[in-house]
């Protein structure tokens, strides 16, 4: 009996501490050890597509953070009601709805940014990170942890996107955010970094650096 009440208390305490250690790990994990791009290798396509320049990459990151967080919350709220046979379709519908919401708001209130991203906003729907988090986390967890998990993964995705974009814009166009840092007189722009293939090299280098830092090695 006493152990049961003790457990209950612990649970209650956990429920109250919104930013408990366990919950914070939901945000920090995807930034490094469980990064959606460099470790899980998800969402690579958009990491190649929108990272030629920093500004679109930044807005794209914000949009993805919103979509992962919002759809994680919604799916988590109705996780017990979703029939398992059509759960993927339900997830997809929710994600698509969120993405179109983002698109409508961008078009209405930050039109120039929406023009920058053009078709890529719509392509967030196909970002496997979002579906991955819904299936792996939101379907089995409460609303608050799901929100944190969504935000964490969104940030983890955005951080890599920005790193790749900085590398590509600097080496490919000699500028950051459109401001020229390396004039063509001292640095010849490398067109490889502008084309999507350049992003593969950039992502590869980041994975290398991250693994070296974490001392992670593939084991047979």
């Amino acid at each position: 009996m006493s152990t049961a009440t003790a457990e209950q208390q612990v649970e209650k305490k956990k429920g109250e501490a919104l930013f408990s250690k366990k919950n914070l790990r939901l945000i920090s994990d995807p930034l490094n050890e469980n990064n959606p791009i460099t470790v899980q290798v998800l969402g690579i396509c958009s990491a190649l597509a929108v990272t030629a320049q920093v500004k679109p990459a930044f807005v794209m990151s914000l949009a993805v953070i919103f979509v992962t967080a919002a759809s994680n919350v919604l799916i988590s709220m109705m996780r017990n009601a979703i029939p398992s046979r059509i759960r993927i379709i339900v997830q997809l519908t929710i994600v698509a709805t969120m993405v179109i919401l983002v698109d409508l708001f961008l078009k209405a209130y930050v039109y120039d940014v929406s023009k920058q991203l053009s078709v890529f906003v719509g392509l967030i729907i196909t970002n496997c990170i979002i579906m991955g988090r819904l299936e792996a986390f939101a379907m089995g967890n409460k609303v608050w942890p799901s929100l944190l998990d969504g935000i964490g993964n969104g940030i983890g995705y955005g951080a890599i996107l920005l790193m790749v974009a900085v590398m590509r814009e600097l080496l490919g166009s000699g500028s950051i955010l459109g401001v020229t840092l390396l004039p063509e007189s001292i640095y010849v722009n490398n067109n490889l970094m502008v084309v999507p293939a350049g992003a593969l090299f950039a992502v590869g280098l980041i994975i290398w650096a991250q693994r070296a830092h974490n001392k992670y090695y593939e084991t047979e």
Partner: protein
């Protein structure tokens, strides 16, 4: 109802679809005015930017609309250079280009410089780049020969390559007396391949690595300006 029963599944799917659909419809209606105004104002800004009439970043949509209405006169012409009925601003070039050349409505936006009363003629352009449509505006001086300014935009050209056509370094090249028609009255203004070319009054530097986009813009300039040739000649002589 059982959670795994077929009936429940259909019910759930129906509720979700309806819910999402209604939500999106409401938000879409709610933002409609703002979205359409943004598109309209962007077009006005683009037209005015080709005649060096620019706004600072804080300019409100109303200010831009007022300036546009004050300085721009809208006309529609056909390929024979005759004025025809129509709303120049609302003409959709995409569907217009599918018609026979003789049936096409060609919009002209005439800008009167507030100080000098000088007139400039802005013509919309539309063509194909590498991945999707490219479009823009070109303004000519009242000799119907000298380019005054250009503005390009695109649907999905590669950022850093084809998408550079929107950048100032590229469009600035068209200023400073570039000529449209050559001695034989053909459209001669062209974008060359890459940078560092020997330029004359008909040519500007291209974008390295974006030759196909450049070719698309060239075709667009050639086709669309040729359609206006009759109108230009008539106006020149009148």
């Amino acid at each position: 109802m059982q959670k795994n029963s077929t009936g429940y599944m259909y019910m759930f799917a129906l509720v979700i679809t309806l819910g999402c659909g209604v939500l999106l419809a409401i938000v879409s209606e709610f933002t409609k005015v703002d979205r359409l105004t943004n598109i309209k104002v962007e077009k006005m800004t683009n037209i005015l930017s080709t005649v060096n009439y620019t706004f600072d970043k804080e300019a409100t949509n109303e200010e831009i609309e007022t300036a546009y209405k004050q300085y721009i006169e809208e006309k529609v012409v056909n390929t024979n250079g005759e004025f025809i009925e129509g709303n120049a601003f609302e003409i959709d070039l995409k569907s217009e280009r599918k018609k026979e050349l003789a049936d096409q409505q060609l919009p002209v936006f005439i800008f009167t410089q507030p100080e000098t009363e000088e007139k400039f003629y802005v013509v919309p352009l539309r063509g194909n780049g590498l991945w999707g449509a490219v479009w823009g505006y070109i303004s000519v001086e009242s000799d119907f020969q000298t380019v005054y300014g250009v503005k390009f935009d695109h649907e999905s050209e590669t950022p850093g390559l084809g998408a550079e056509i929107t950048k100032e370094w590229f469009t600035e090249q068209f200023k400073g007396g570039k000529q449209i028609f050559d001695k034989d009255e053909e459209v001669a203004i062209t974008i060359l391949k890459g940078k560092g070319n020997e330029l004359n009054q008909y040519s500007v530097d291209g974008i390295s690595g974006a030759t196909i986009t450049g070719n698309g813009v060239n075709d667009m300039l050639k086709n669309d300006l040729t359609a206006y040739k009759a109108y230009f000649e008539k106006s020149k002589n009148s």
